[in-house]
C-alpha cells in the first residue's frame, strides 16, 4: 500500500471511521510485528505487545501528524512498548533467555510459513538473523542497524553478506 493511501486511511481513522483500522493493520502489521520481535525475540510476548501497539495507536491517533510517515510513527510506538516490556521482563525474571527461539515456530499455531522461514534461518546465528530481519523485512539501513545493535558498520555489512551466503546455501539445499 502506498504512503498516500495509508495517509487516507489515517485521516479516516482520525475522523472516527473505524473501518479504516483493518486496512491500516494490514499495511503495517509486518513492520510492527518484526520491530517488536527483534527486541523481545519471543513470539508470544510479541503478539501481546503488537496488540498493545495498535491499541495505543488508536488512543493516540489524534496526535499523529502526516509530516511523518505513519509506519515510522507506529514503529516508534511499537519499539517503545517492546523496550519497556523487555526491561520489565528483565526485572522480573532476569535476562530474557528466548534468543534461541528467535524466529523459531514455538507454538501450535505456527504456520507452514514459519517452518519455511525457520528452515531458511536455521543456518544463521541470532545476530545474523537480527541483521537479516532488520535489513530485509524492516528495511533499515546498515548504518541504523549498526547503531541499534551497537556494532561497527563494517561488522554489520560483513554479517549481512555472511548471512546471505549461508541463506544461499540453505536455499540451494532446499531446492535440491
Amino acid at each position: 500500500m502506498t504512503d498516500q493511501k495509508i495517509q487516507e486511511y489515517v485521516k479516516k481513522l482520525q475522523r472516527g471511521d473505524m473501518s479504516a483500522f483493518d486496512e491500516l493493520y494490514e499495511a503495517t502489521k509486518t513492520h510492527v510485528y518484526y520491530t517488536i520481535l527483534v527486541i523481545l525475540k519471543d513470539e508470544s510476548s510479541t503478539e501481546d505487545i503488537m496488540q498493545d501497539t495498535y491499541l495505543k495507536m488508536l488512543e493516540s491517533i489524534e496526535k499523529y501528524k502526516p509530516k511523518r510517515p505513519f509506519k515510522a510513527w507506529i514503529g516508534t510506538i511499537a519499539r517503545n512498548l517492546a523496550i519497556n516490556a523487555y526491561h520489565k521482563k528483565k526485572r522480573e525474571v532476569g535476562m530474557p533467555d528466548d534468543a534461541e527461539n528467535f524466529l523459531l515456530p514455538t507454538h501450535e499455531t505456527s504456520s507452514e510459513n514459519a517452518y519455511y522461514l525457520h528452515g531458511l534461518m536455521k543456518a544463521l546465528n541470532d545476530e545474523e538473523k537480527e541483521v537479516i530481519v532488520r535489513y530485509v523485512i524492516l528495511e533499515e539501513k546498515h548504518k541504523d542497524i549498526a547503531k541499534k545493535m551497537q556494532k561497527p558498520l563494517g561488522t554489520i555489512t560483513w554479517m549481512y553478506q555472511n548471512a546471505l551466503k549461508k541463506l544461499r546455501k540453505e536455499a540451494g539445499e532446499d531446492h535440491e
Binding site: 509486518t30 507506529i74 516508534t76 510506538i77 522461514l117 536455499a171
Partner: protein, 257 residues
C-alpha cells in the same frame, strides 16, 4: 538462488507469517473506548444538546473564573524509592500537597495510606514507611529506602533534606531498627550512576514510562533515558513538550547536558 530472490522469499514468507490479531484487538475493551464519533459528527447528530452544553460550560466559566482558587504550587518534592516509588509534593511549610505513585507498587501503597494532605512531611514519611512494612515491602534482611528532595529553590531543597535527614534515625528506630534511609540523587543521569539500585535510576525509569504514556509516539526510550528526573518531570508537567519530537533529539527547552 540469487540474493534478490532470497530477499524476496524472506519478505514474502515473513509477511504471511505475521499473526492476524485484528479480532483480538477489536475484542479488547480499549478498542471499544477508542471507537467514538468525531466532535463534528457529534455536533451534527445532536446539535441542540451539544450547543446547550457548550453554552452552559461558557456560563459556568464566566461565573466562576474569578473565584477559582489558584492551585498551590509545590515548593519541593520528596521522592521515595522503597520499591513502591512515590513522589510527595510539599508546600513551603513542608506540608503534603499531593502524593503521586510512580509505579504500580506505588499505586498499591498509596491506596492503603490515610489522607496525608496537609500533614507534615515527617508524619507522611512515618506513615508511608509503616504502611510499606505492613504490606511487606521492607521485609528483606537489610531493607533500604532511598530518597531525594528536589526543588527549584536550592535553599528549600537543602532545608527539607536536612530536616528529613535529622529525623530519619528516629523514624527508622521506631518503625524498623535495621532500616536504612539513604539519600540518592534524583537529578543524576544514567551515565552518572554506578549501578541500577541508585534511586535516580529507578525514578527515571518510572518517569520514562509516564512520559511514554503521555507521548507514546514522540520520544524514544533511548532518548528519554538520557534525561534526568528533573527534565523528565518538566516534560510530564507540560513545560517541555517536544518541539519536533522523536527525530531531532531532546526538546529545545530541555537544557543541554
Amino acid at each position: 538462488m540469487s540474493d534478490q530472490k532470497i530477499i524476496q522469499t524472506i519478505r514474502a514468507y515473513a509477511e504471511k507469517d505475521v499473526p492476524d490479531l485484528k479480532t483480538r484487538i477489536k475484542e479488547n475493551p480499549r478498542f471499544m473506548q477508542t471507537k467514538r464519533p468525531s466532535i463534528f459528527e457529534r455536533i451534527l447528530q445532536r446539535p441542540v444538546p451539544v450547543f446547550s452544553a457548550f453554552s452552559f460550560a461558557l456560563i459556568l466559566i464566566f461565573l466562576f473564573i474569578t473565584n477559582i482558587p489558584q492551585e498551590i504550587q509545590a515548593s519541593s518534592s520528596l521522592y521515595m524509592e522503597i520499591n513502591p516509588s512515590i513522589q510527595i509534593d510539599l508546600d513551603e511549610e513542608d506540608k503534603v500537597l499531593t502524593i503521586l505513585a510512580l509505579n504500580t507498587d506505588g499505586e498499591a501503597l498509596i491506596l492503603d495510606l490515610n489522607n496525608l494532605k496537609g500533614e507534615d512531611v515527617l508524619t507522611a514519611i512515618d506513615e508511608i514507611i509503616g504502611t510499606a512494612i505492613a504490606k511487606g515491602y521492607l521485609d528483606s534482611e537489610r531493607p533500604v529506602v532511598l530518597f531525594d528532595v528536589l526543588s527549584d529553590n536550592e535553599e528549600r531543597r537543602d532545608a527539607v533534606t536536612a530536616r528529613i535527614e535529622s529525623r530519619i534515625p528516629d523514624i527508622a528506630a521506631q518503625r524498623l531498627p535495621n532500616l536504612d534511609m539513604v539519600r540518592g540523587n534524583a537529578q543524576s543521569r544514567p551515565d552518572d550512576v554506578p549501578n541500577d539500585i541508585e534511586p535516580g535510576m529507578m525514578m527515571r525509569r518510572n518517569l520514562i514510562n509516564q512520559v511514554l504514556d503521555l507521548y507514546p509516539d514522540e520520544y524514544t526510550y533511548d532518548q528519554l533515558s538520557e534525561l534526568s528526573v528533573v527534565e523528565l518531570r518538566r516534560i510530564i508537567r507540560g513545560d517541555g513538550p517536544p518541539s519536533n519530537p522523536g527525530e531531532n533529539g531532546p526538546p529545545s527547552n530541555i537544557p543541554p547536558r
